[in-house]
Amino acid sequence: MTVEASRETQTPVDLVTLSIDDVEVSVPKGTLVIRAAELVGTEIPRFCDHPLLEPVGACRQCLVEVPDAGNGRGFPKPQASCTLEVAPGMVVRTQVTSPVAEKAQHGTMELLLVNHPLDCPVCDKGGECPLQNQAMSHGRGESRFAETKRTFPKPLAVSEQVLLDRERCVLCARCTRFSEQVAGDPFIALVERGARQQVGIGPSTDEQAFGDRPGADGSSGGAQPFHSYFSGNTIQICPVGALTSADYRFRSRPFDLVSTPSVAEHDACGAAIRVDHRRGTVMRRLAGDDPEVNEEWVTDKDRFAFTWSRQDDRLRTPLVRDPDTGELVPASWPGALAAAAAGLREAAGKVGVLPGGRLTAEDAYAYSVFARVALRTNDIDFRTRPHSAEEAAFLAARVATVQDVATRDLETASTVLLVGLEPEDEAGTLFLRLRKGSRHGVRVAAVASHTTRGLAKVGGELLTARPGEEASALDAIQDSDGSADVGLDARSVVLLGERLASSPGAFSAAVRLAERTGARLAWVPRRAGDRGAVETGCLPTLLPGARPVGDAEARADLAAAWGVRSVPAKAGRDTTSILRAAARGQLRALVVGGVEVDDLPDPALAREALAAADFVVSLEVRESDVTRAADVVLPVAPPVEKSGTFVTWEGRLRPFGRVLDVPGSLTDVRVLAGIAEELGAPLGFRTTAGAMRSMADLGPWDGERVAAPDLAAPEAKEPRGGEVVLATWRQLVDDGRLQDGQDRYRATARRAVLKASAATLAAAGVEPGDVATISTDLGSASFPTAVADLPDGVVWAPGNNGVHLRGALGADHGSTVRLTAGGAS
């Protein structure tokens, strides 16, 4: 609860001594009586009280008798212990020792149950319901209320995903307080008065400013749905069954679910989750409790997007391309591994490896060792998005094995500067911590194209930068002429997004900024496996444990640890170079992990490379463009069917266990070990645990590191007439394949709109609200428009909401596109 070992409580605090149920207890000053009572082993019943929300005293269930408030006088009536702070000498009597408190609690419970329906058998909360449990432990047992209960039409859909049964509500205001205090999305509120009081949705002024919600164009003036990225948390903290998810409604009961703690696979935050399954099928996911990482909150993506691994296109058996018919035919595991090894042996020395960014650290390590030991190459790159040599140098110099910044630091930093990072979309757990920090005085600033809703919610200042020119904006911060001062100092944190790889000089400028101000740097990638892949050396210039490829000592160290004669010394190719070399025939074979072709920097080149390569081995969970082009397809386990460790953006290890035991569902480690053994160059481990042991034995590199990049900021480019610069990123809820199979969750996505300044729209002849089209030589995409505070000549559009900009247009953050009025011709 609040009294936990943290940096704050490790420092000496003022203790207050009071007596609860005749037991003397000393607690830190400011502690609430309800929590102090927990320390003496008394659980006071409560509904509205939540340790992570501000006290409100709404449900009145936690009444206690206070005969002495510390000043010799008592309160004449029972007091709500969840809003009462301890005082020296206070005497508290709970229901354990006080008949007055017990009678008061029974009375409150009876009143709460007056209008509560007796529909526990059909209620999703039944069996795990605080109201049910506390009515049993602290209630009267029998109701004296014989009249007709108040009813409402049910259920009310406050969003496509969240359903509200108003008659079950006890008006504890946990959901509305969460939305207001934690998520910052006050789309639900208590409306009406007296017996009619209820949770409801109403017209909001918020979306008009950001234009990305339905009805923002004025088409509907009515209630706005509860479209928050964090709406699922309200379902979990509801102490009754008033809020339920459409996804889980009536699907299961808590007593036939098997719960397994796990880690979310959707972003680099490593949020703790609980996976509930029944008979081999995951029924739901809940937020776990980890004060260091996600507290008790997760994003809706972490909560609802878990059906992607059981879609119809799931690969179940190995497939090998028949040389006669050219079709992929099912094969046995030994046969497929032998076929993969034979093809790779044929292409010896000319193999590129693209592991993808969604792997566990153990799987990424297996790829890294496989490339170096079995394939004898450094042609391995986990980056399946725009990337640069500058980024690789930055990752090697300032990210690998560095643990400078932790999530908790975002609460205590003086300033947090976001560069090329939209945390609400790309790292939701981090966003909630950042918002908590901003409510406690942390100053937030962002080098970005415009003020997003996420930035407004953390009260952030915008340091406007055109896409591709983030470097100059960073150089201008607290420069000698002091043009932009956001108060960066040694207690500040600079968070860099992966988008900066497409902005030349940005990483260099960030390093210069950190050295100038003393601020700490952290890199926040989008995918769960990105940081793990950096640590395990899935880069062309970096070996596991931050060992530079160019350092002979580091290579010798690694060769000794792996028991091989040498590790390849030649720096490898990056993703784009691997694909280009494969397309030109310089590389003859590719080993591809979980890679979506449309995510790659140049999808057309990637398709060409897959077609041109003599031999492609694909390790995938579901059928994709890569598996369709592959010669050997080896199905691997999704995170739910394997154990492993994700590495968060902080560098924190997040191990998780297997949830479902599916025979024949093999990890990447096991599959790569199998191919390596067929090739006669074993990896030295076959299991996830073995890979982790090997990594631990290896340890981090303590020698000299690569120098950080130091490129100058590029000259500002002026786009030609009719052309604009595109700013874009992936939104949290979009069309990504890891969100497949959850239509109701998808329906809560923000509306895809194109944002630009009024002048930019006017120059293209677009009325705000009308449809505009952005196009390149490859394709076009049309969006409704909205005015936002972007610089002139810049437009923003979502990366994969309705249309995949990189796949359809080949356009990325910083690309130039044509902007025209009207829909696509």
């Binding site: 058998p121 059909v122 039944g126 069996g127 049910k154 259920p155 409604r249 009536f250 699907r251 299961s252 009961r253 007593f255 036939d256």
Partner: protein, 195 residues
């Protein structure tokens, strides 16, 4: 109690050895109690715990709401239930409320016919019949599905899915407001109100 003296009385030596035959001779003149099962089937006691039945409302909709309390109560873990939501349209309505039991299985290889599930059922959807012939020559057929357990359609009942035929209003539906009043004529004639 037993006599520990040696020898024995006259009664013990003469009468006792033939006394047991008295039962035999007496029974020879009585009607035999042997039941000629399976050629003659005799009714069980009225509250005999036999095969389960899933009951219906008078319009044919199912009473089961898929709450799984029966499965929870079952000491033999013989019951498996999955609930589901009645669809938005009447073509998808199986029970009068929001929820119905989509899957309902009782495994009679496990069931001990104790009746705890009946006590747990909040809607009186699950009751027991007097049918006791629960034997088969294979295991699969002894897992009874919902279709095997549902009560037969009586006159006036319509096979779900369909709309709530008694009343659209839930209070009136459960009170059976529009049902015809039926004269009950056994014993002294009395009148039911259909509830």
């Amino acid at each position: 109690m037993s006599d520990t003296n040696g020898g024995g009385s006259l009664k013990e030596t003469l009468w006792d050895p033939i006394a047991g035959f008295g039962v035999t001779f007496r029974t020879m003149f009585r009607k035999p109690v042997t039941e000629q099962y399976p050629f003659e089937k005799r009714p069980t006691a009225p509250r005999f715990h036999g095969r389960h039945q899933l009951n219906r409302w008078p319009d044919g909709l199912e009473k089961c709401v898929g709450c799984e309390l029966c499965a929870w109560a079952c000491p033999a873990d013989a019951i498996y239930v999955e609930g589901a939501s009645n669809g938005p349209s009447d073509e998808d309505r199986f029970s009068p409320g929001e929820r119905y039991g989509r899957v309902y299985q009782i495994n009679y290889l496990r069931c001990i016919l104790c009746g705890l599930c009946i006590e747990a059922c909040p809607t009186r959807a699950l009751t027991m019949t007097n049918e006791y012939e629960l034997a088969d020559d294979n295991r699969a057929d002894l897992i009874y599905e919902k279709s095997d357990l549902l009560a037969p359609l009586l006159p006036g009942m319509v096979e779900p899915p369909h709309a709530m035929l008694i009343s659209d209003d839930h209070h009136d539906y459960y009170a059976g407001k529009t049902l015809p009043v039926v004269e009950v004529t056994h014993g002294s004639a009395s009148t039911g109100d259909g509830a």
